[in-house]
C-alpha cells in the first residue's frame, strides 16, 4: 500500500513539474540539462524505493506507474479538456512570417530556434519564407513554408 501511494505521489509530482517547466525543456537538452535529468532520476529512484529493494516492491511500483499512465491516457481520450491541461496544445509562434513575440516568450523559444528548425526541416533561409512555425506538444517546432499552406 505504501509503495502504491509513494509511486502515485512521485508520478503526479513529476507530471506537474515537467508540465510547468515547459515543452522545450526535454527537447533542447544541453549537457547540464542531461546531468540534471540524471540527478532527478537518481533522486526519484531513492524516493520510490526507499530502503525496500525487494522484487515485490519493484513489481508493485512498476504496475502502479503503468496503471497511472494508462488511466491518465484513457482519461485524456474521454476528456479533451483534460488532454489539453495535461499535455498542453500546439502553439503558433510565427504566422505569415511574423513572430508572435508574446507566445514565443511564454514558450521560451527565440528566433534562432525557429530559424534552426526552418533550415533543418525545410531548407528555408529567411523568416519571410515561413507561413507557420508551430511548437508541438512534444517540444519540437514544425515549419510550414509559404506556398504550401
Amino acid at each position: 500500500m505504501e509503495t502504491i501511494v509513494r509511486g502515485l505521489v512521485i508520478y503526479f509530482f513529476l507530471l506537474i513539474v515537467f508540465r510547468i517547466s515547459g515543452k522545450r525543456t526535454l527537447h533542447e537538452v544541453t549537457t547540464f540539462d542531461f546531468v540534471l535529468l540524471i540527478i532527478i532520476a537518481e533522486t526519484t529512484e531513492q524516493a520510490l524505493l526507499s530502503d525496500d529493494h525487494s522484487i515485490t516492491n519493484s513489481l508493485v511500483l512498476i504496475v502502479t506507474l503503468v496503471f497511472a499512465d494508462v488511466t491518465l491516457s484513457i482519461f485524456k481520450q474521454y476528456s479533451k479538456k483534460a488532454g489539453k491541461i495535461l499535455d498542453g496544445t500546439p502553439t503558433i509562434l510565427v504566422a505569415d512570417g511574423n513572430l508572435l513575440k508574446n507566445k514565443m516568450d511564454k514558450a521560451r523559444v527565440d528566433k534562432e530556434d525557429i530559424m534552426e528548425a526552418a533550415r533543418k526541416l525545410q531548407g528555408l533561409e529567411t523568416m519571410s519564407q515561413i507561413k507557420y512555425a508551430i511548437l508541438e506538444i512534444d517540444g519540437s517546432i514544425s515549419i510550414v513554408p509559404k506556398g504550401k499552406a
Binding site: 530502503d51 525496500d52 516492491n57
Partner: protein, 132 residues
C-alpha cells in the same frame, strides 16, 4: 488484480485489509505486534510489550527466526545473550510492567516464517510470510 492485492496489503507494508496484527495479549503476559506479510531484505520490526514484571526479564527467540533473518538491533539493548539447541535467549537488566522491546530485522529467506517468542513464562507464536 495485482494492484488490488497490493492495496489490500497482501504484499506487505500494510493495506486496507491486512496491516499490523497482534499476537498474545495482557492475559498471556506478552503481546507482539507484527506484520503478517513482509519482504525479503526489507527492514521490518516486531514490537513486544511485556505486561508482567519479572525480576529477570528475558526474550527467547526460536532458531527458525534466527536462521531466516538478519537481526539488526534490539531496543533496549540486552545485557546478555545465550543460546541452546532450539533458541537464543536475550536477558535485560530491568523491564517494568508495560515495557516495550523492539526487534529490528531483515528477512533473508523467502518462506513461511514460524516464529516463537517467549518471555520465560509465556510464549507467543507468529506466522509471517516473506515475499521475494
Amino acid at each position: 488484480m495485482f494492484l488490488i492485492i497490493a492495496v489490500l496489503g497482501y504484499f506487505g507494508q500494510g493495506g486496507l485489509l491486512v496491516g499490523h496484527e497482534k499476537a498474545g495479549g495482557p492475559a498471556a503476559g506478552l503481546e507482539v505486534e507484527y506484520e503478517p506479510y513482509i519482504r525479503k531484505g526489507t527492514p521490518t520490526k516486531l514490537t513486544l510489550t511485556y505486561h508482567k514484571q519479572s525480576p529477570q526479564p528475558e526474550l527467547r527467540i526460536n532458531k527458525t527466526f534466527i536462521y531466516s533473518t538478519h537481526l539488526e538491533q534490539i531496543v533496549p539493548e540486552p545485557s546478555g545473550a545465550s543460546a541452546d539447541e532450539t533458541s537464543v535467549t536475550y536477558t535485560f537488566d530491568a523491564l517494568g510492567k508495560g515495557a516495550v522491546v523492539v526487534l529490528y530485522f531483515k528477512p533473508e529467506k523467502i518462506r513461511d516464517l514460524h516464529t516463537i517468542l517467549s518471555d520465560g513464562s509465556s510464549s507467543v507464536t507468529l506466522e509471517q510470510f516473506v515475499h521475494p
